[in-house]
């Protein structure tokens, strides 16, 4: 029998037992480095029940104020996300490799990456300095960060649009704008909707902390309660936040079910 060299199997993601062990070891080493196994840290874990006890029962008195400020948070997230979608779709189209050459896509992708590098809270801080305290800074900060993030999600979806459909349009010589309008956007429409909803849900959670830098919403109260050691009001604020987030998740899952195929 003649010996035969078998072709190499395709590369698989490196999730073998050895890799998992290695990752676990690295994580343990990092925890050790950060003092997680220090006896004083372990003894301080006993503070947790005391802290939780101070948060209970939640104080109902600030509830009306908190609900209003949470509504403001939701409005900040909504306006920020809507602005981001409006900017992200054209920016993502211009960053799509199947539509434009590297002279357009590379600088744009770099710009979007730079925008993403700055966290939402820093963008909010920049806009607090630029436009002053209040929800407008929150909206602009959320919009800025979300544009960087959403554009990336969308240009990856646009790149994955079936080339054959684009080729049909190219043979008919309809031009770039028609390729975008009649091929790329409709083909990726479900993805645009689902990622925009995801971004909105994410922004509701993210906007909750924008108040820490004075950009409006419930974050302002959360920061005040922490500074004043008013943990019972803090737990009320967290419950309001939880209720809103669950409500929004419920609504967006209904929207998804209505508009997106299984």
């Amino acid at each position: 029998m003649r010996a035969r060299t078998l072709p190499r199997p395709p590369q698989r993601p490196p999730f073998g037992l050895l890799t998992q062990l290695l990752l676990a070891l690295i994580t343990l080493a990092l925890l050790f480095r950060f003092g997680a196994f220090d006896p004083s840290v372990i003894s301080r874990l006993g503070n947790l029940p005391a802290f939780v006890a101070e948060m209970l029962p939640p104080d109902p008195r600030p509830m009306p104020t908190l609900v209003l400020s949470m509504l403001e948070t939701v409005m900040i997230a909504f306006a920020g996300t809507t602005i981001a979608v409006a900017f992200s779709v054209p920016l993502a189209l211009l960053s799509t490799r199947s539509l434009f050459g590297p002279q357009v896509t590379v600088p744009l992708r770099f710009l979007l990456s730079a925008i993403r590098t700055v966290p939402a809270i820093i963008w909010a801080l920049i806009f607090v300095v630029t436009v002053g305290f209040g929800p407008l800074a929150g909206v602009l900060g959320t919009a800025m960060y979300s544009t960087g993030y959403l554009s990336k999600l969308l240009y990856e979806a646009f790149d994955a649009v079936d080339r054959e459909v684009l080729e049909v349009a190219r043979v008919m010589r309809v031009g770039k704008l028609a390729e975008m309008r009649y091929v790329v956007i409709p083909e990726a429409a479900n993805y645009i909707l689902s990622q925009s909803l995801f971004m909105f849900e994410y922004n509701v959670r993210a906007s909750a902390i924008l108040g820490l830098v004075g950009a409006g919403g419930i974050g302002f109260y959360i920061l005040s309660y922490i500074q004043d050691l008013d943990y019972r009001s803090l737990s009320t604020a967290l419950l309001v936040l939880l209720a809103f987030v669950l409500g929004i998740d419920f609504v967006s899952s209904r929207v998804r079910r209505k508009f997106l195929p299984d």
């Binding site: 054959e164 009649y182 083909e187």
Partner: protein, 235 residues
């Protein structure tokens, strides 16, 4: 109209030539079937003919009936995956074929001239799709999608439709339905170049046939003059 490939050579990034000196012509009013095994270069041949790939050597030229070169030939292309936009309605898919004749700004907003919409509806009626005009293309059967793709090419005014593995994924009855439609359109002057590996379709539906093997045309002629056994042997 005739689309001629003259001594066409093509290779992707690797040094192996996928097409090697191909000479072939596709004419309007005629059905040409290009036979070949998987990997023989059929898809590449159609892509080069459609202008999607640039030949390494040789040229692709369209001429009118008197032999004059055409700068803007009306060619339609139907890829293996059919290439309809699943999230758009059947009518929108077909109206894309009228885009270059319509006012651009309005067409981009989804508004087409009334006469174009009426024409699209007529074409869809002709192809038996009158009752699915408002359905999303993704909801259609394979045979219906093929007909939408043909309708789009007709709407574009294509005199020649290049169809890659056109009926390979259809069941036998739907294949017959679609190819009968192709015959009907041929009698109206539309030409088809169809790649396939099904020899049995040739005698009934092709006017001309060519066999592609390893990037070369090894047999070509009128479909009626070549016996199916010779086609099989040439594959």
């Amino acid at each position: 109209m005739q689309l001629r490939l003259e001594d066409v050579w093509f290779s992707y990034r690797n040094p192996v030539d996928v097409l090697r000196g191909v000479n072939i012509a596709f004419s309007s009013g005629e059905v040409t079937m290009v036979l070949g095994r998987s990997g023989s270069g059929k898809t590449t041949l159609l892509k080069v003919a459609a202008g999607l790939l640039k030949p390494k050597r040789g040229r692709v030229v369209a001429v009118d009936d008197s032999g004059v070169e055409l700068s803007d030939p009306r060619i339609g292309y139907i890829p293996q995956g059919i290439g309809v936009v699943g999230n758009m309605t059947v009518l929108e898919n077909v109206l894309l074929g009228a885009f270059d004749r319509s006012p651009k700004a309005w067409a981009l907003l989804g508004r087409f001239p009334r006469e174009e919409v009426e024409r699209a509806e007529e074409v869809l009626e002709l192809l038996g799709l009158g009752d699915v005009v408002w359905k999303r293309a993704r909801e259609l059967s394979g045979g219906q999608k093929q007909r939408v793709a043909i309708a789009r090419s007709l709407m574009h005014g294509s005199e020649l439709v290049l169809a890659d593995e056109f009926v390979s994924q259809l069941d036998p009855l739907t294949t017959i339905e679609v190819l009968e439609l192709v015959r009907k359109l041929r009698s109206r002057g539309v030409g088809f170049a169809i790649t396939t590996h099904d020899v049995h379709l040739v005698p009934r539906y092709a006017d001309r046939v060519a066999v592609l093997r390893e990037g070369r045309v090894v047999l070509e002629g009128e479909a009626g003059s070549i016996a199916p056994e010779d086609l099989v042997r040439a594959l």
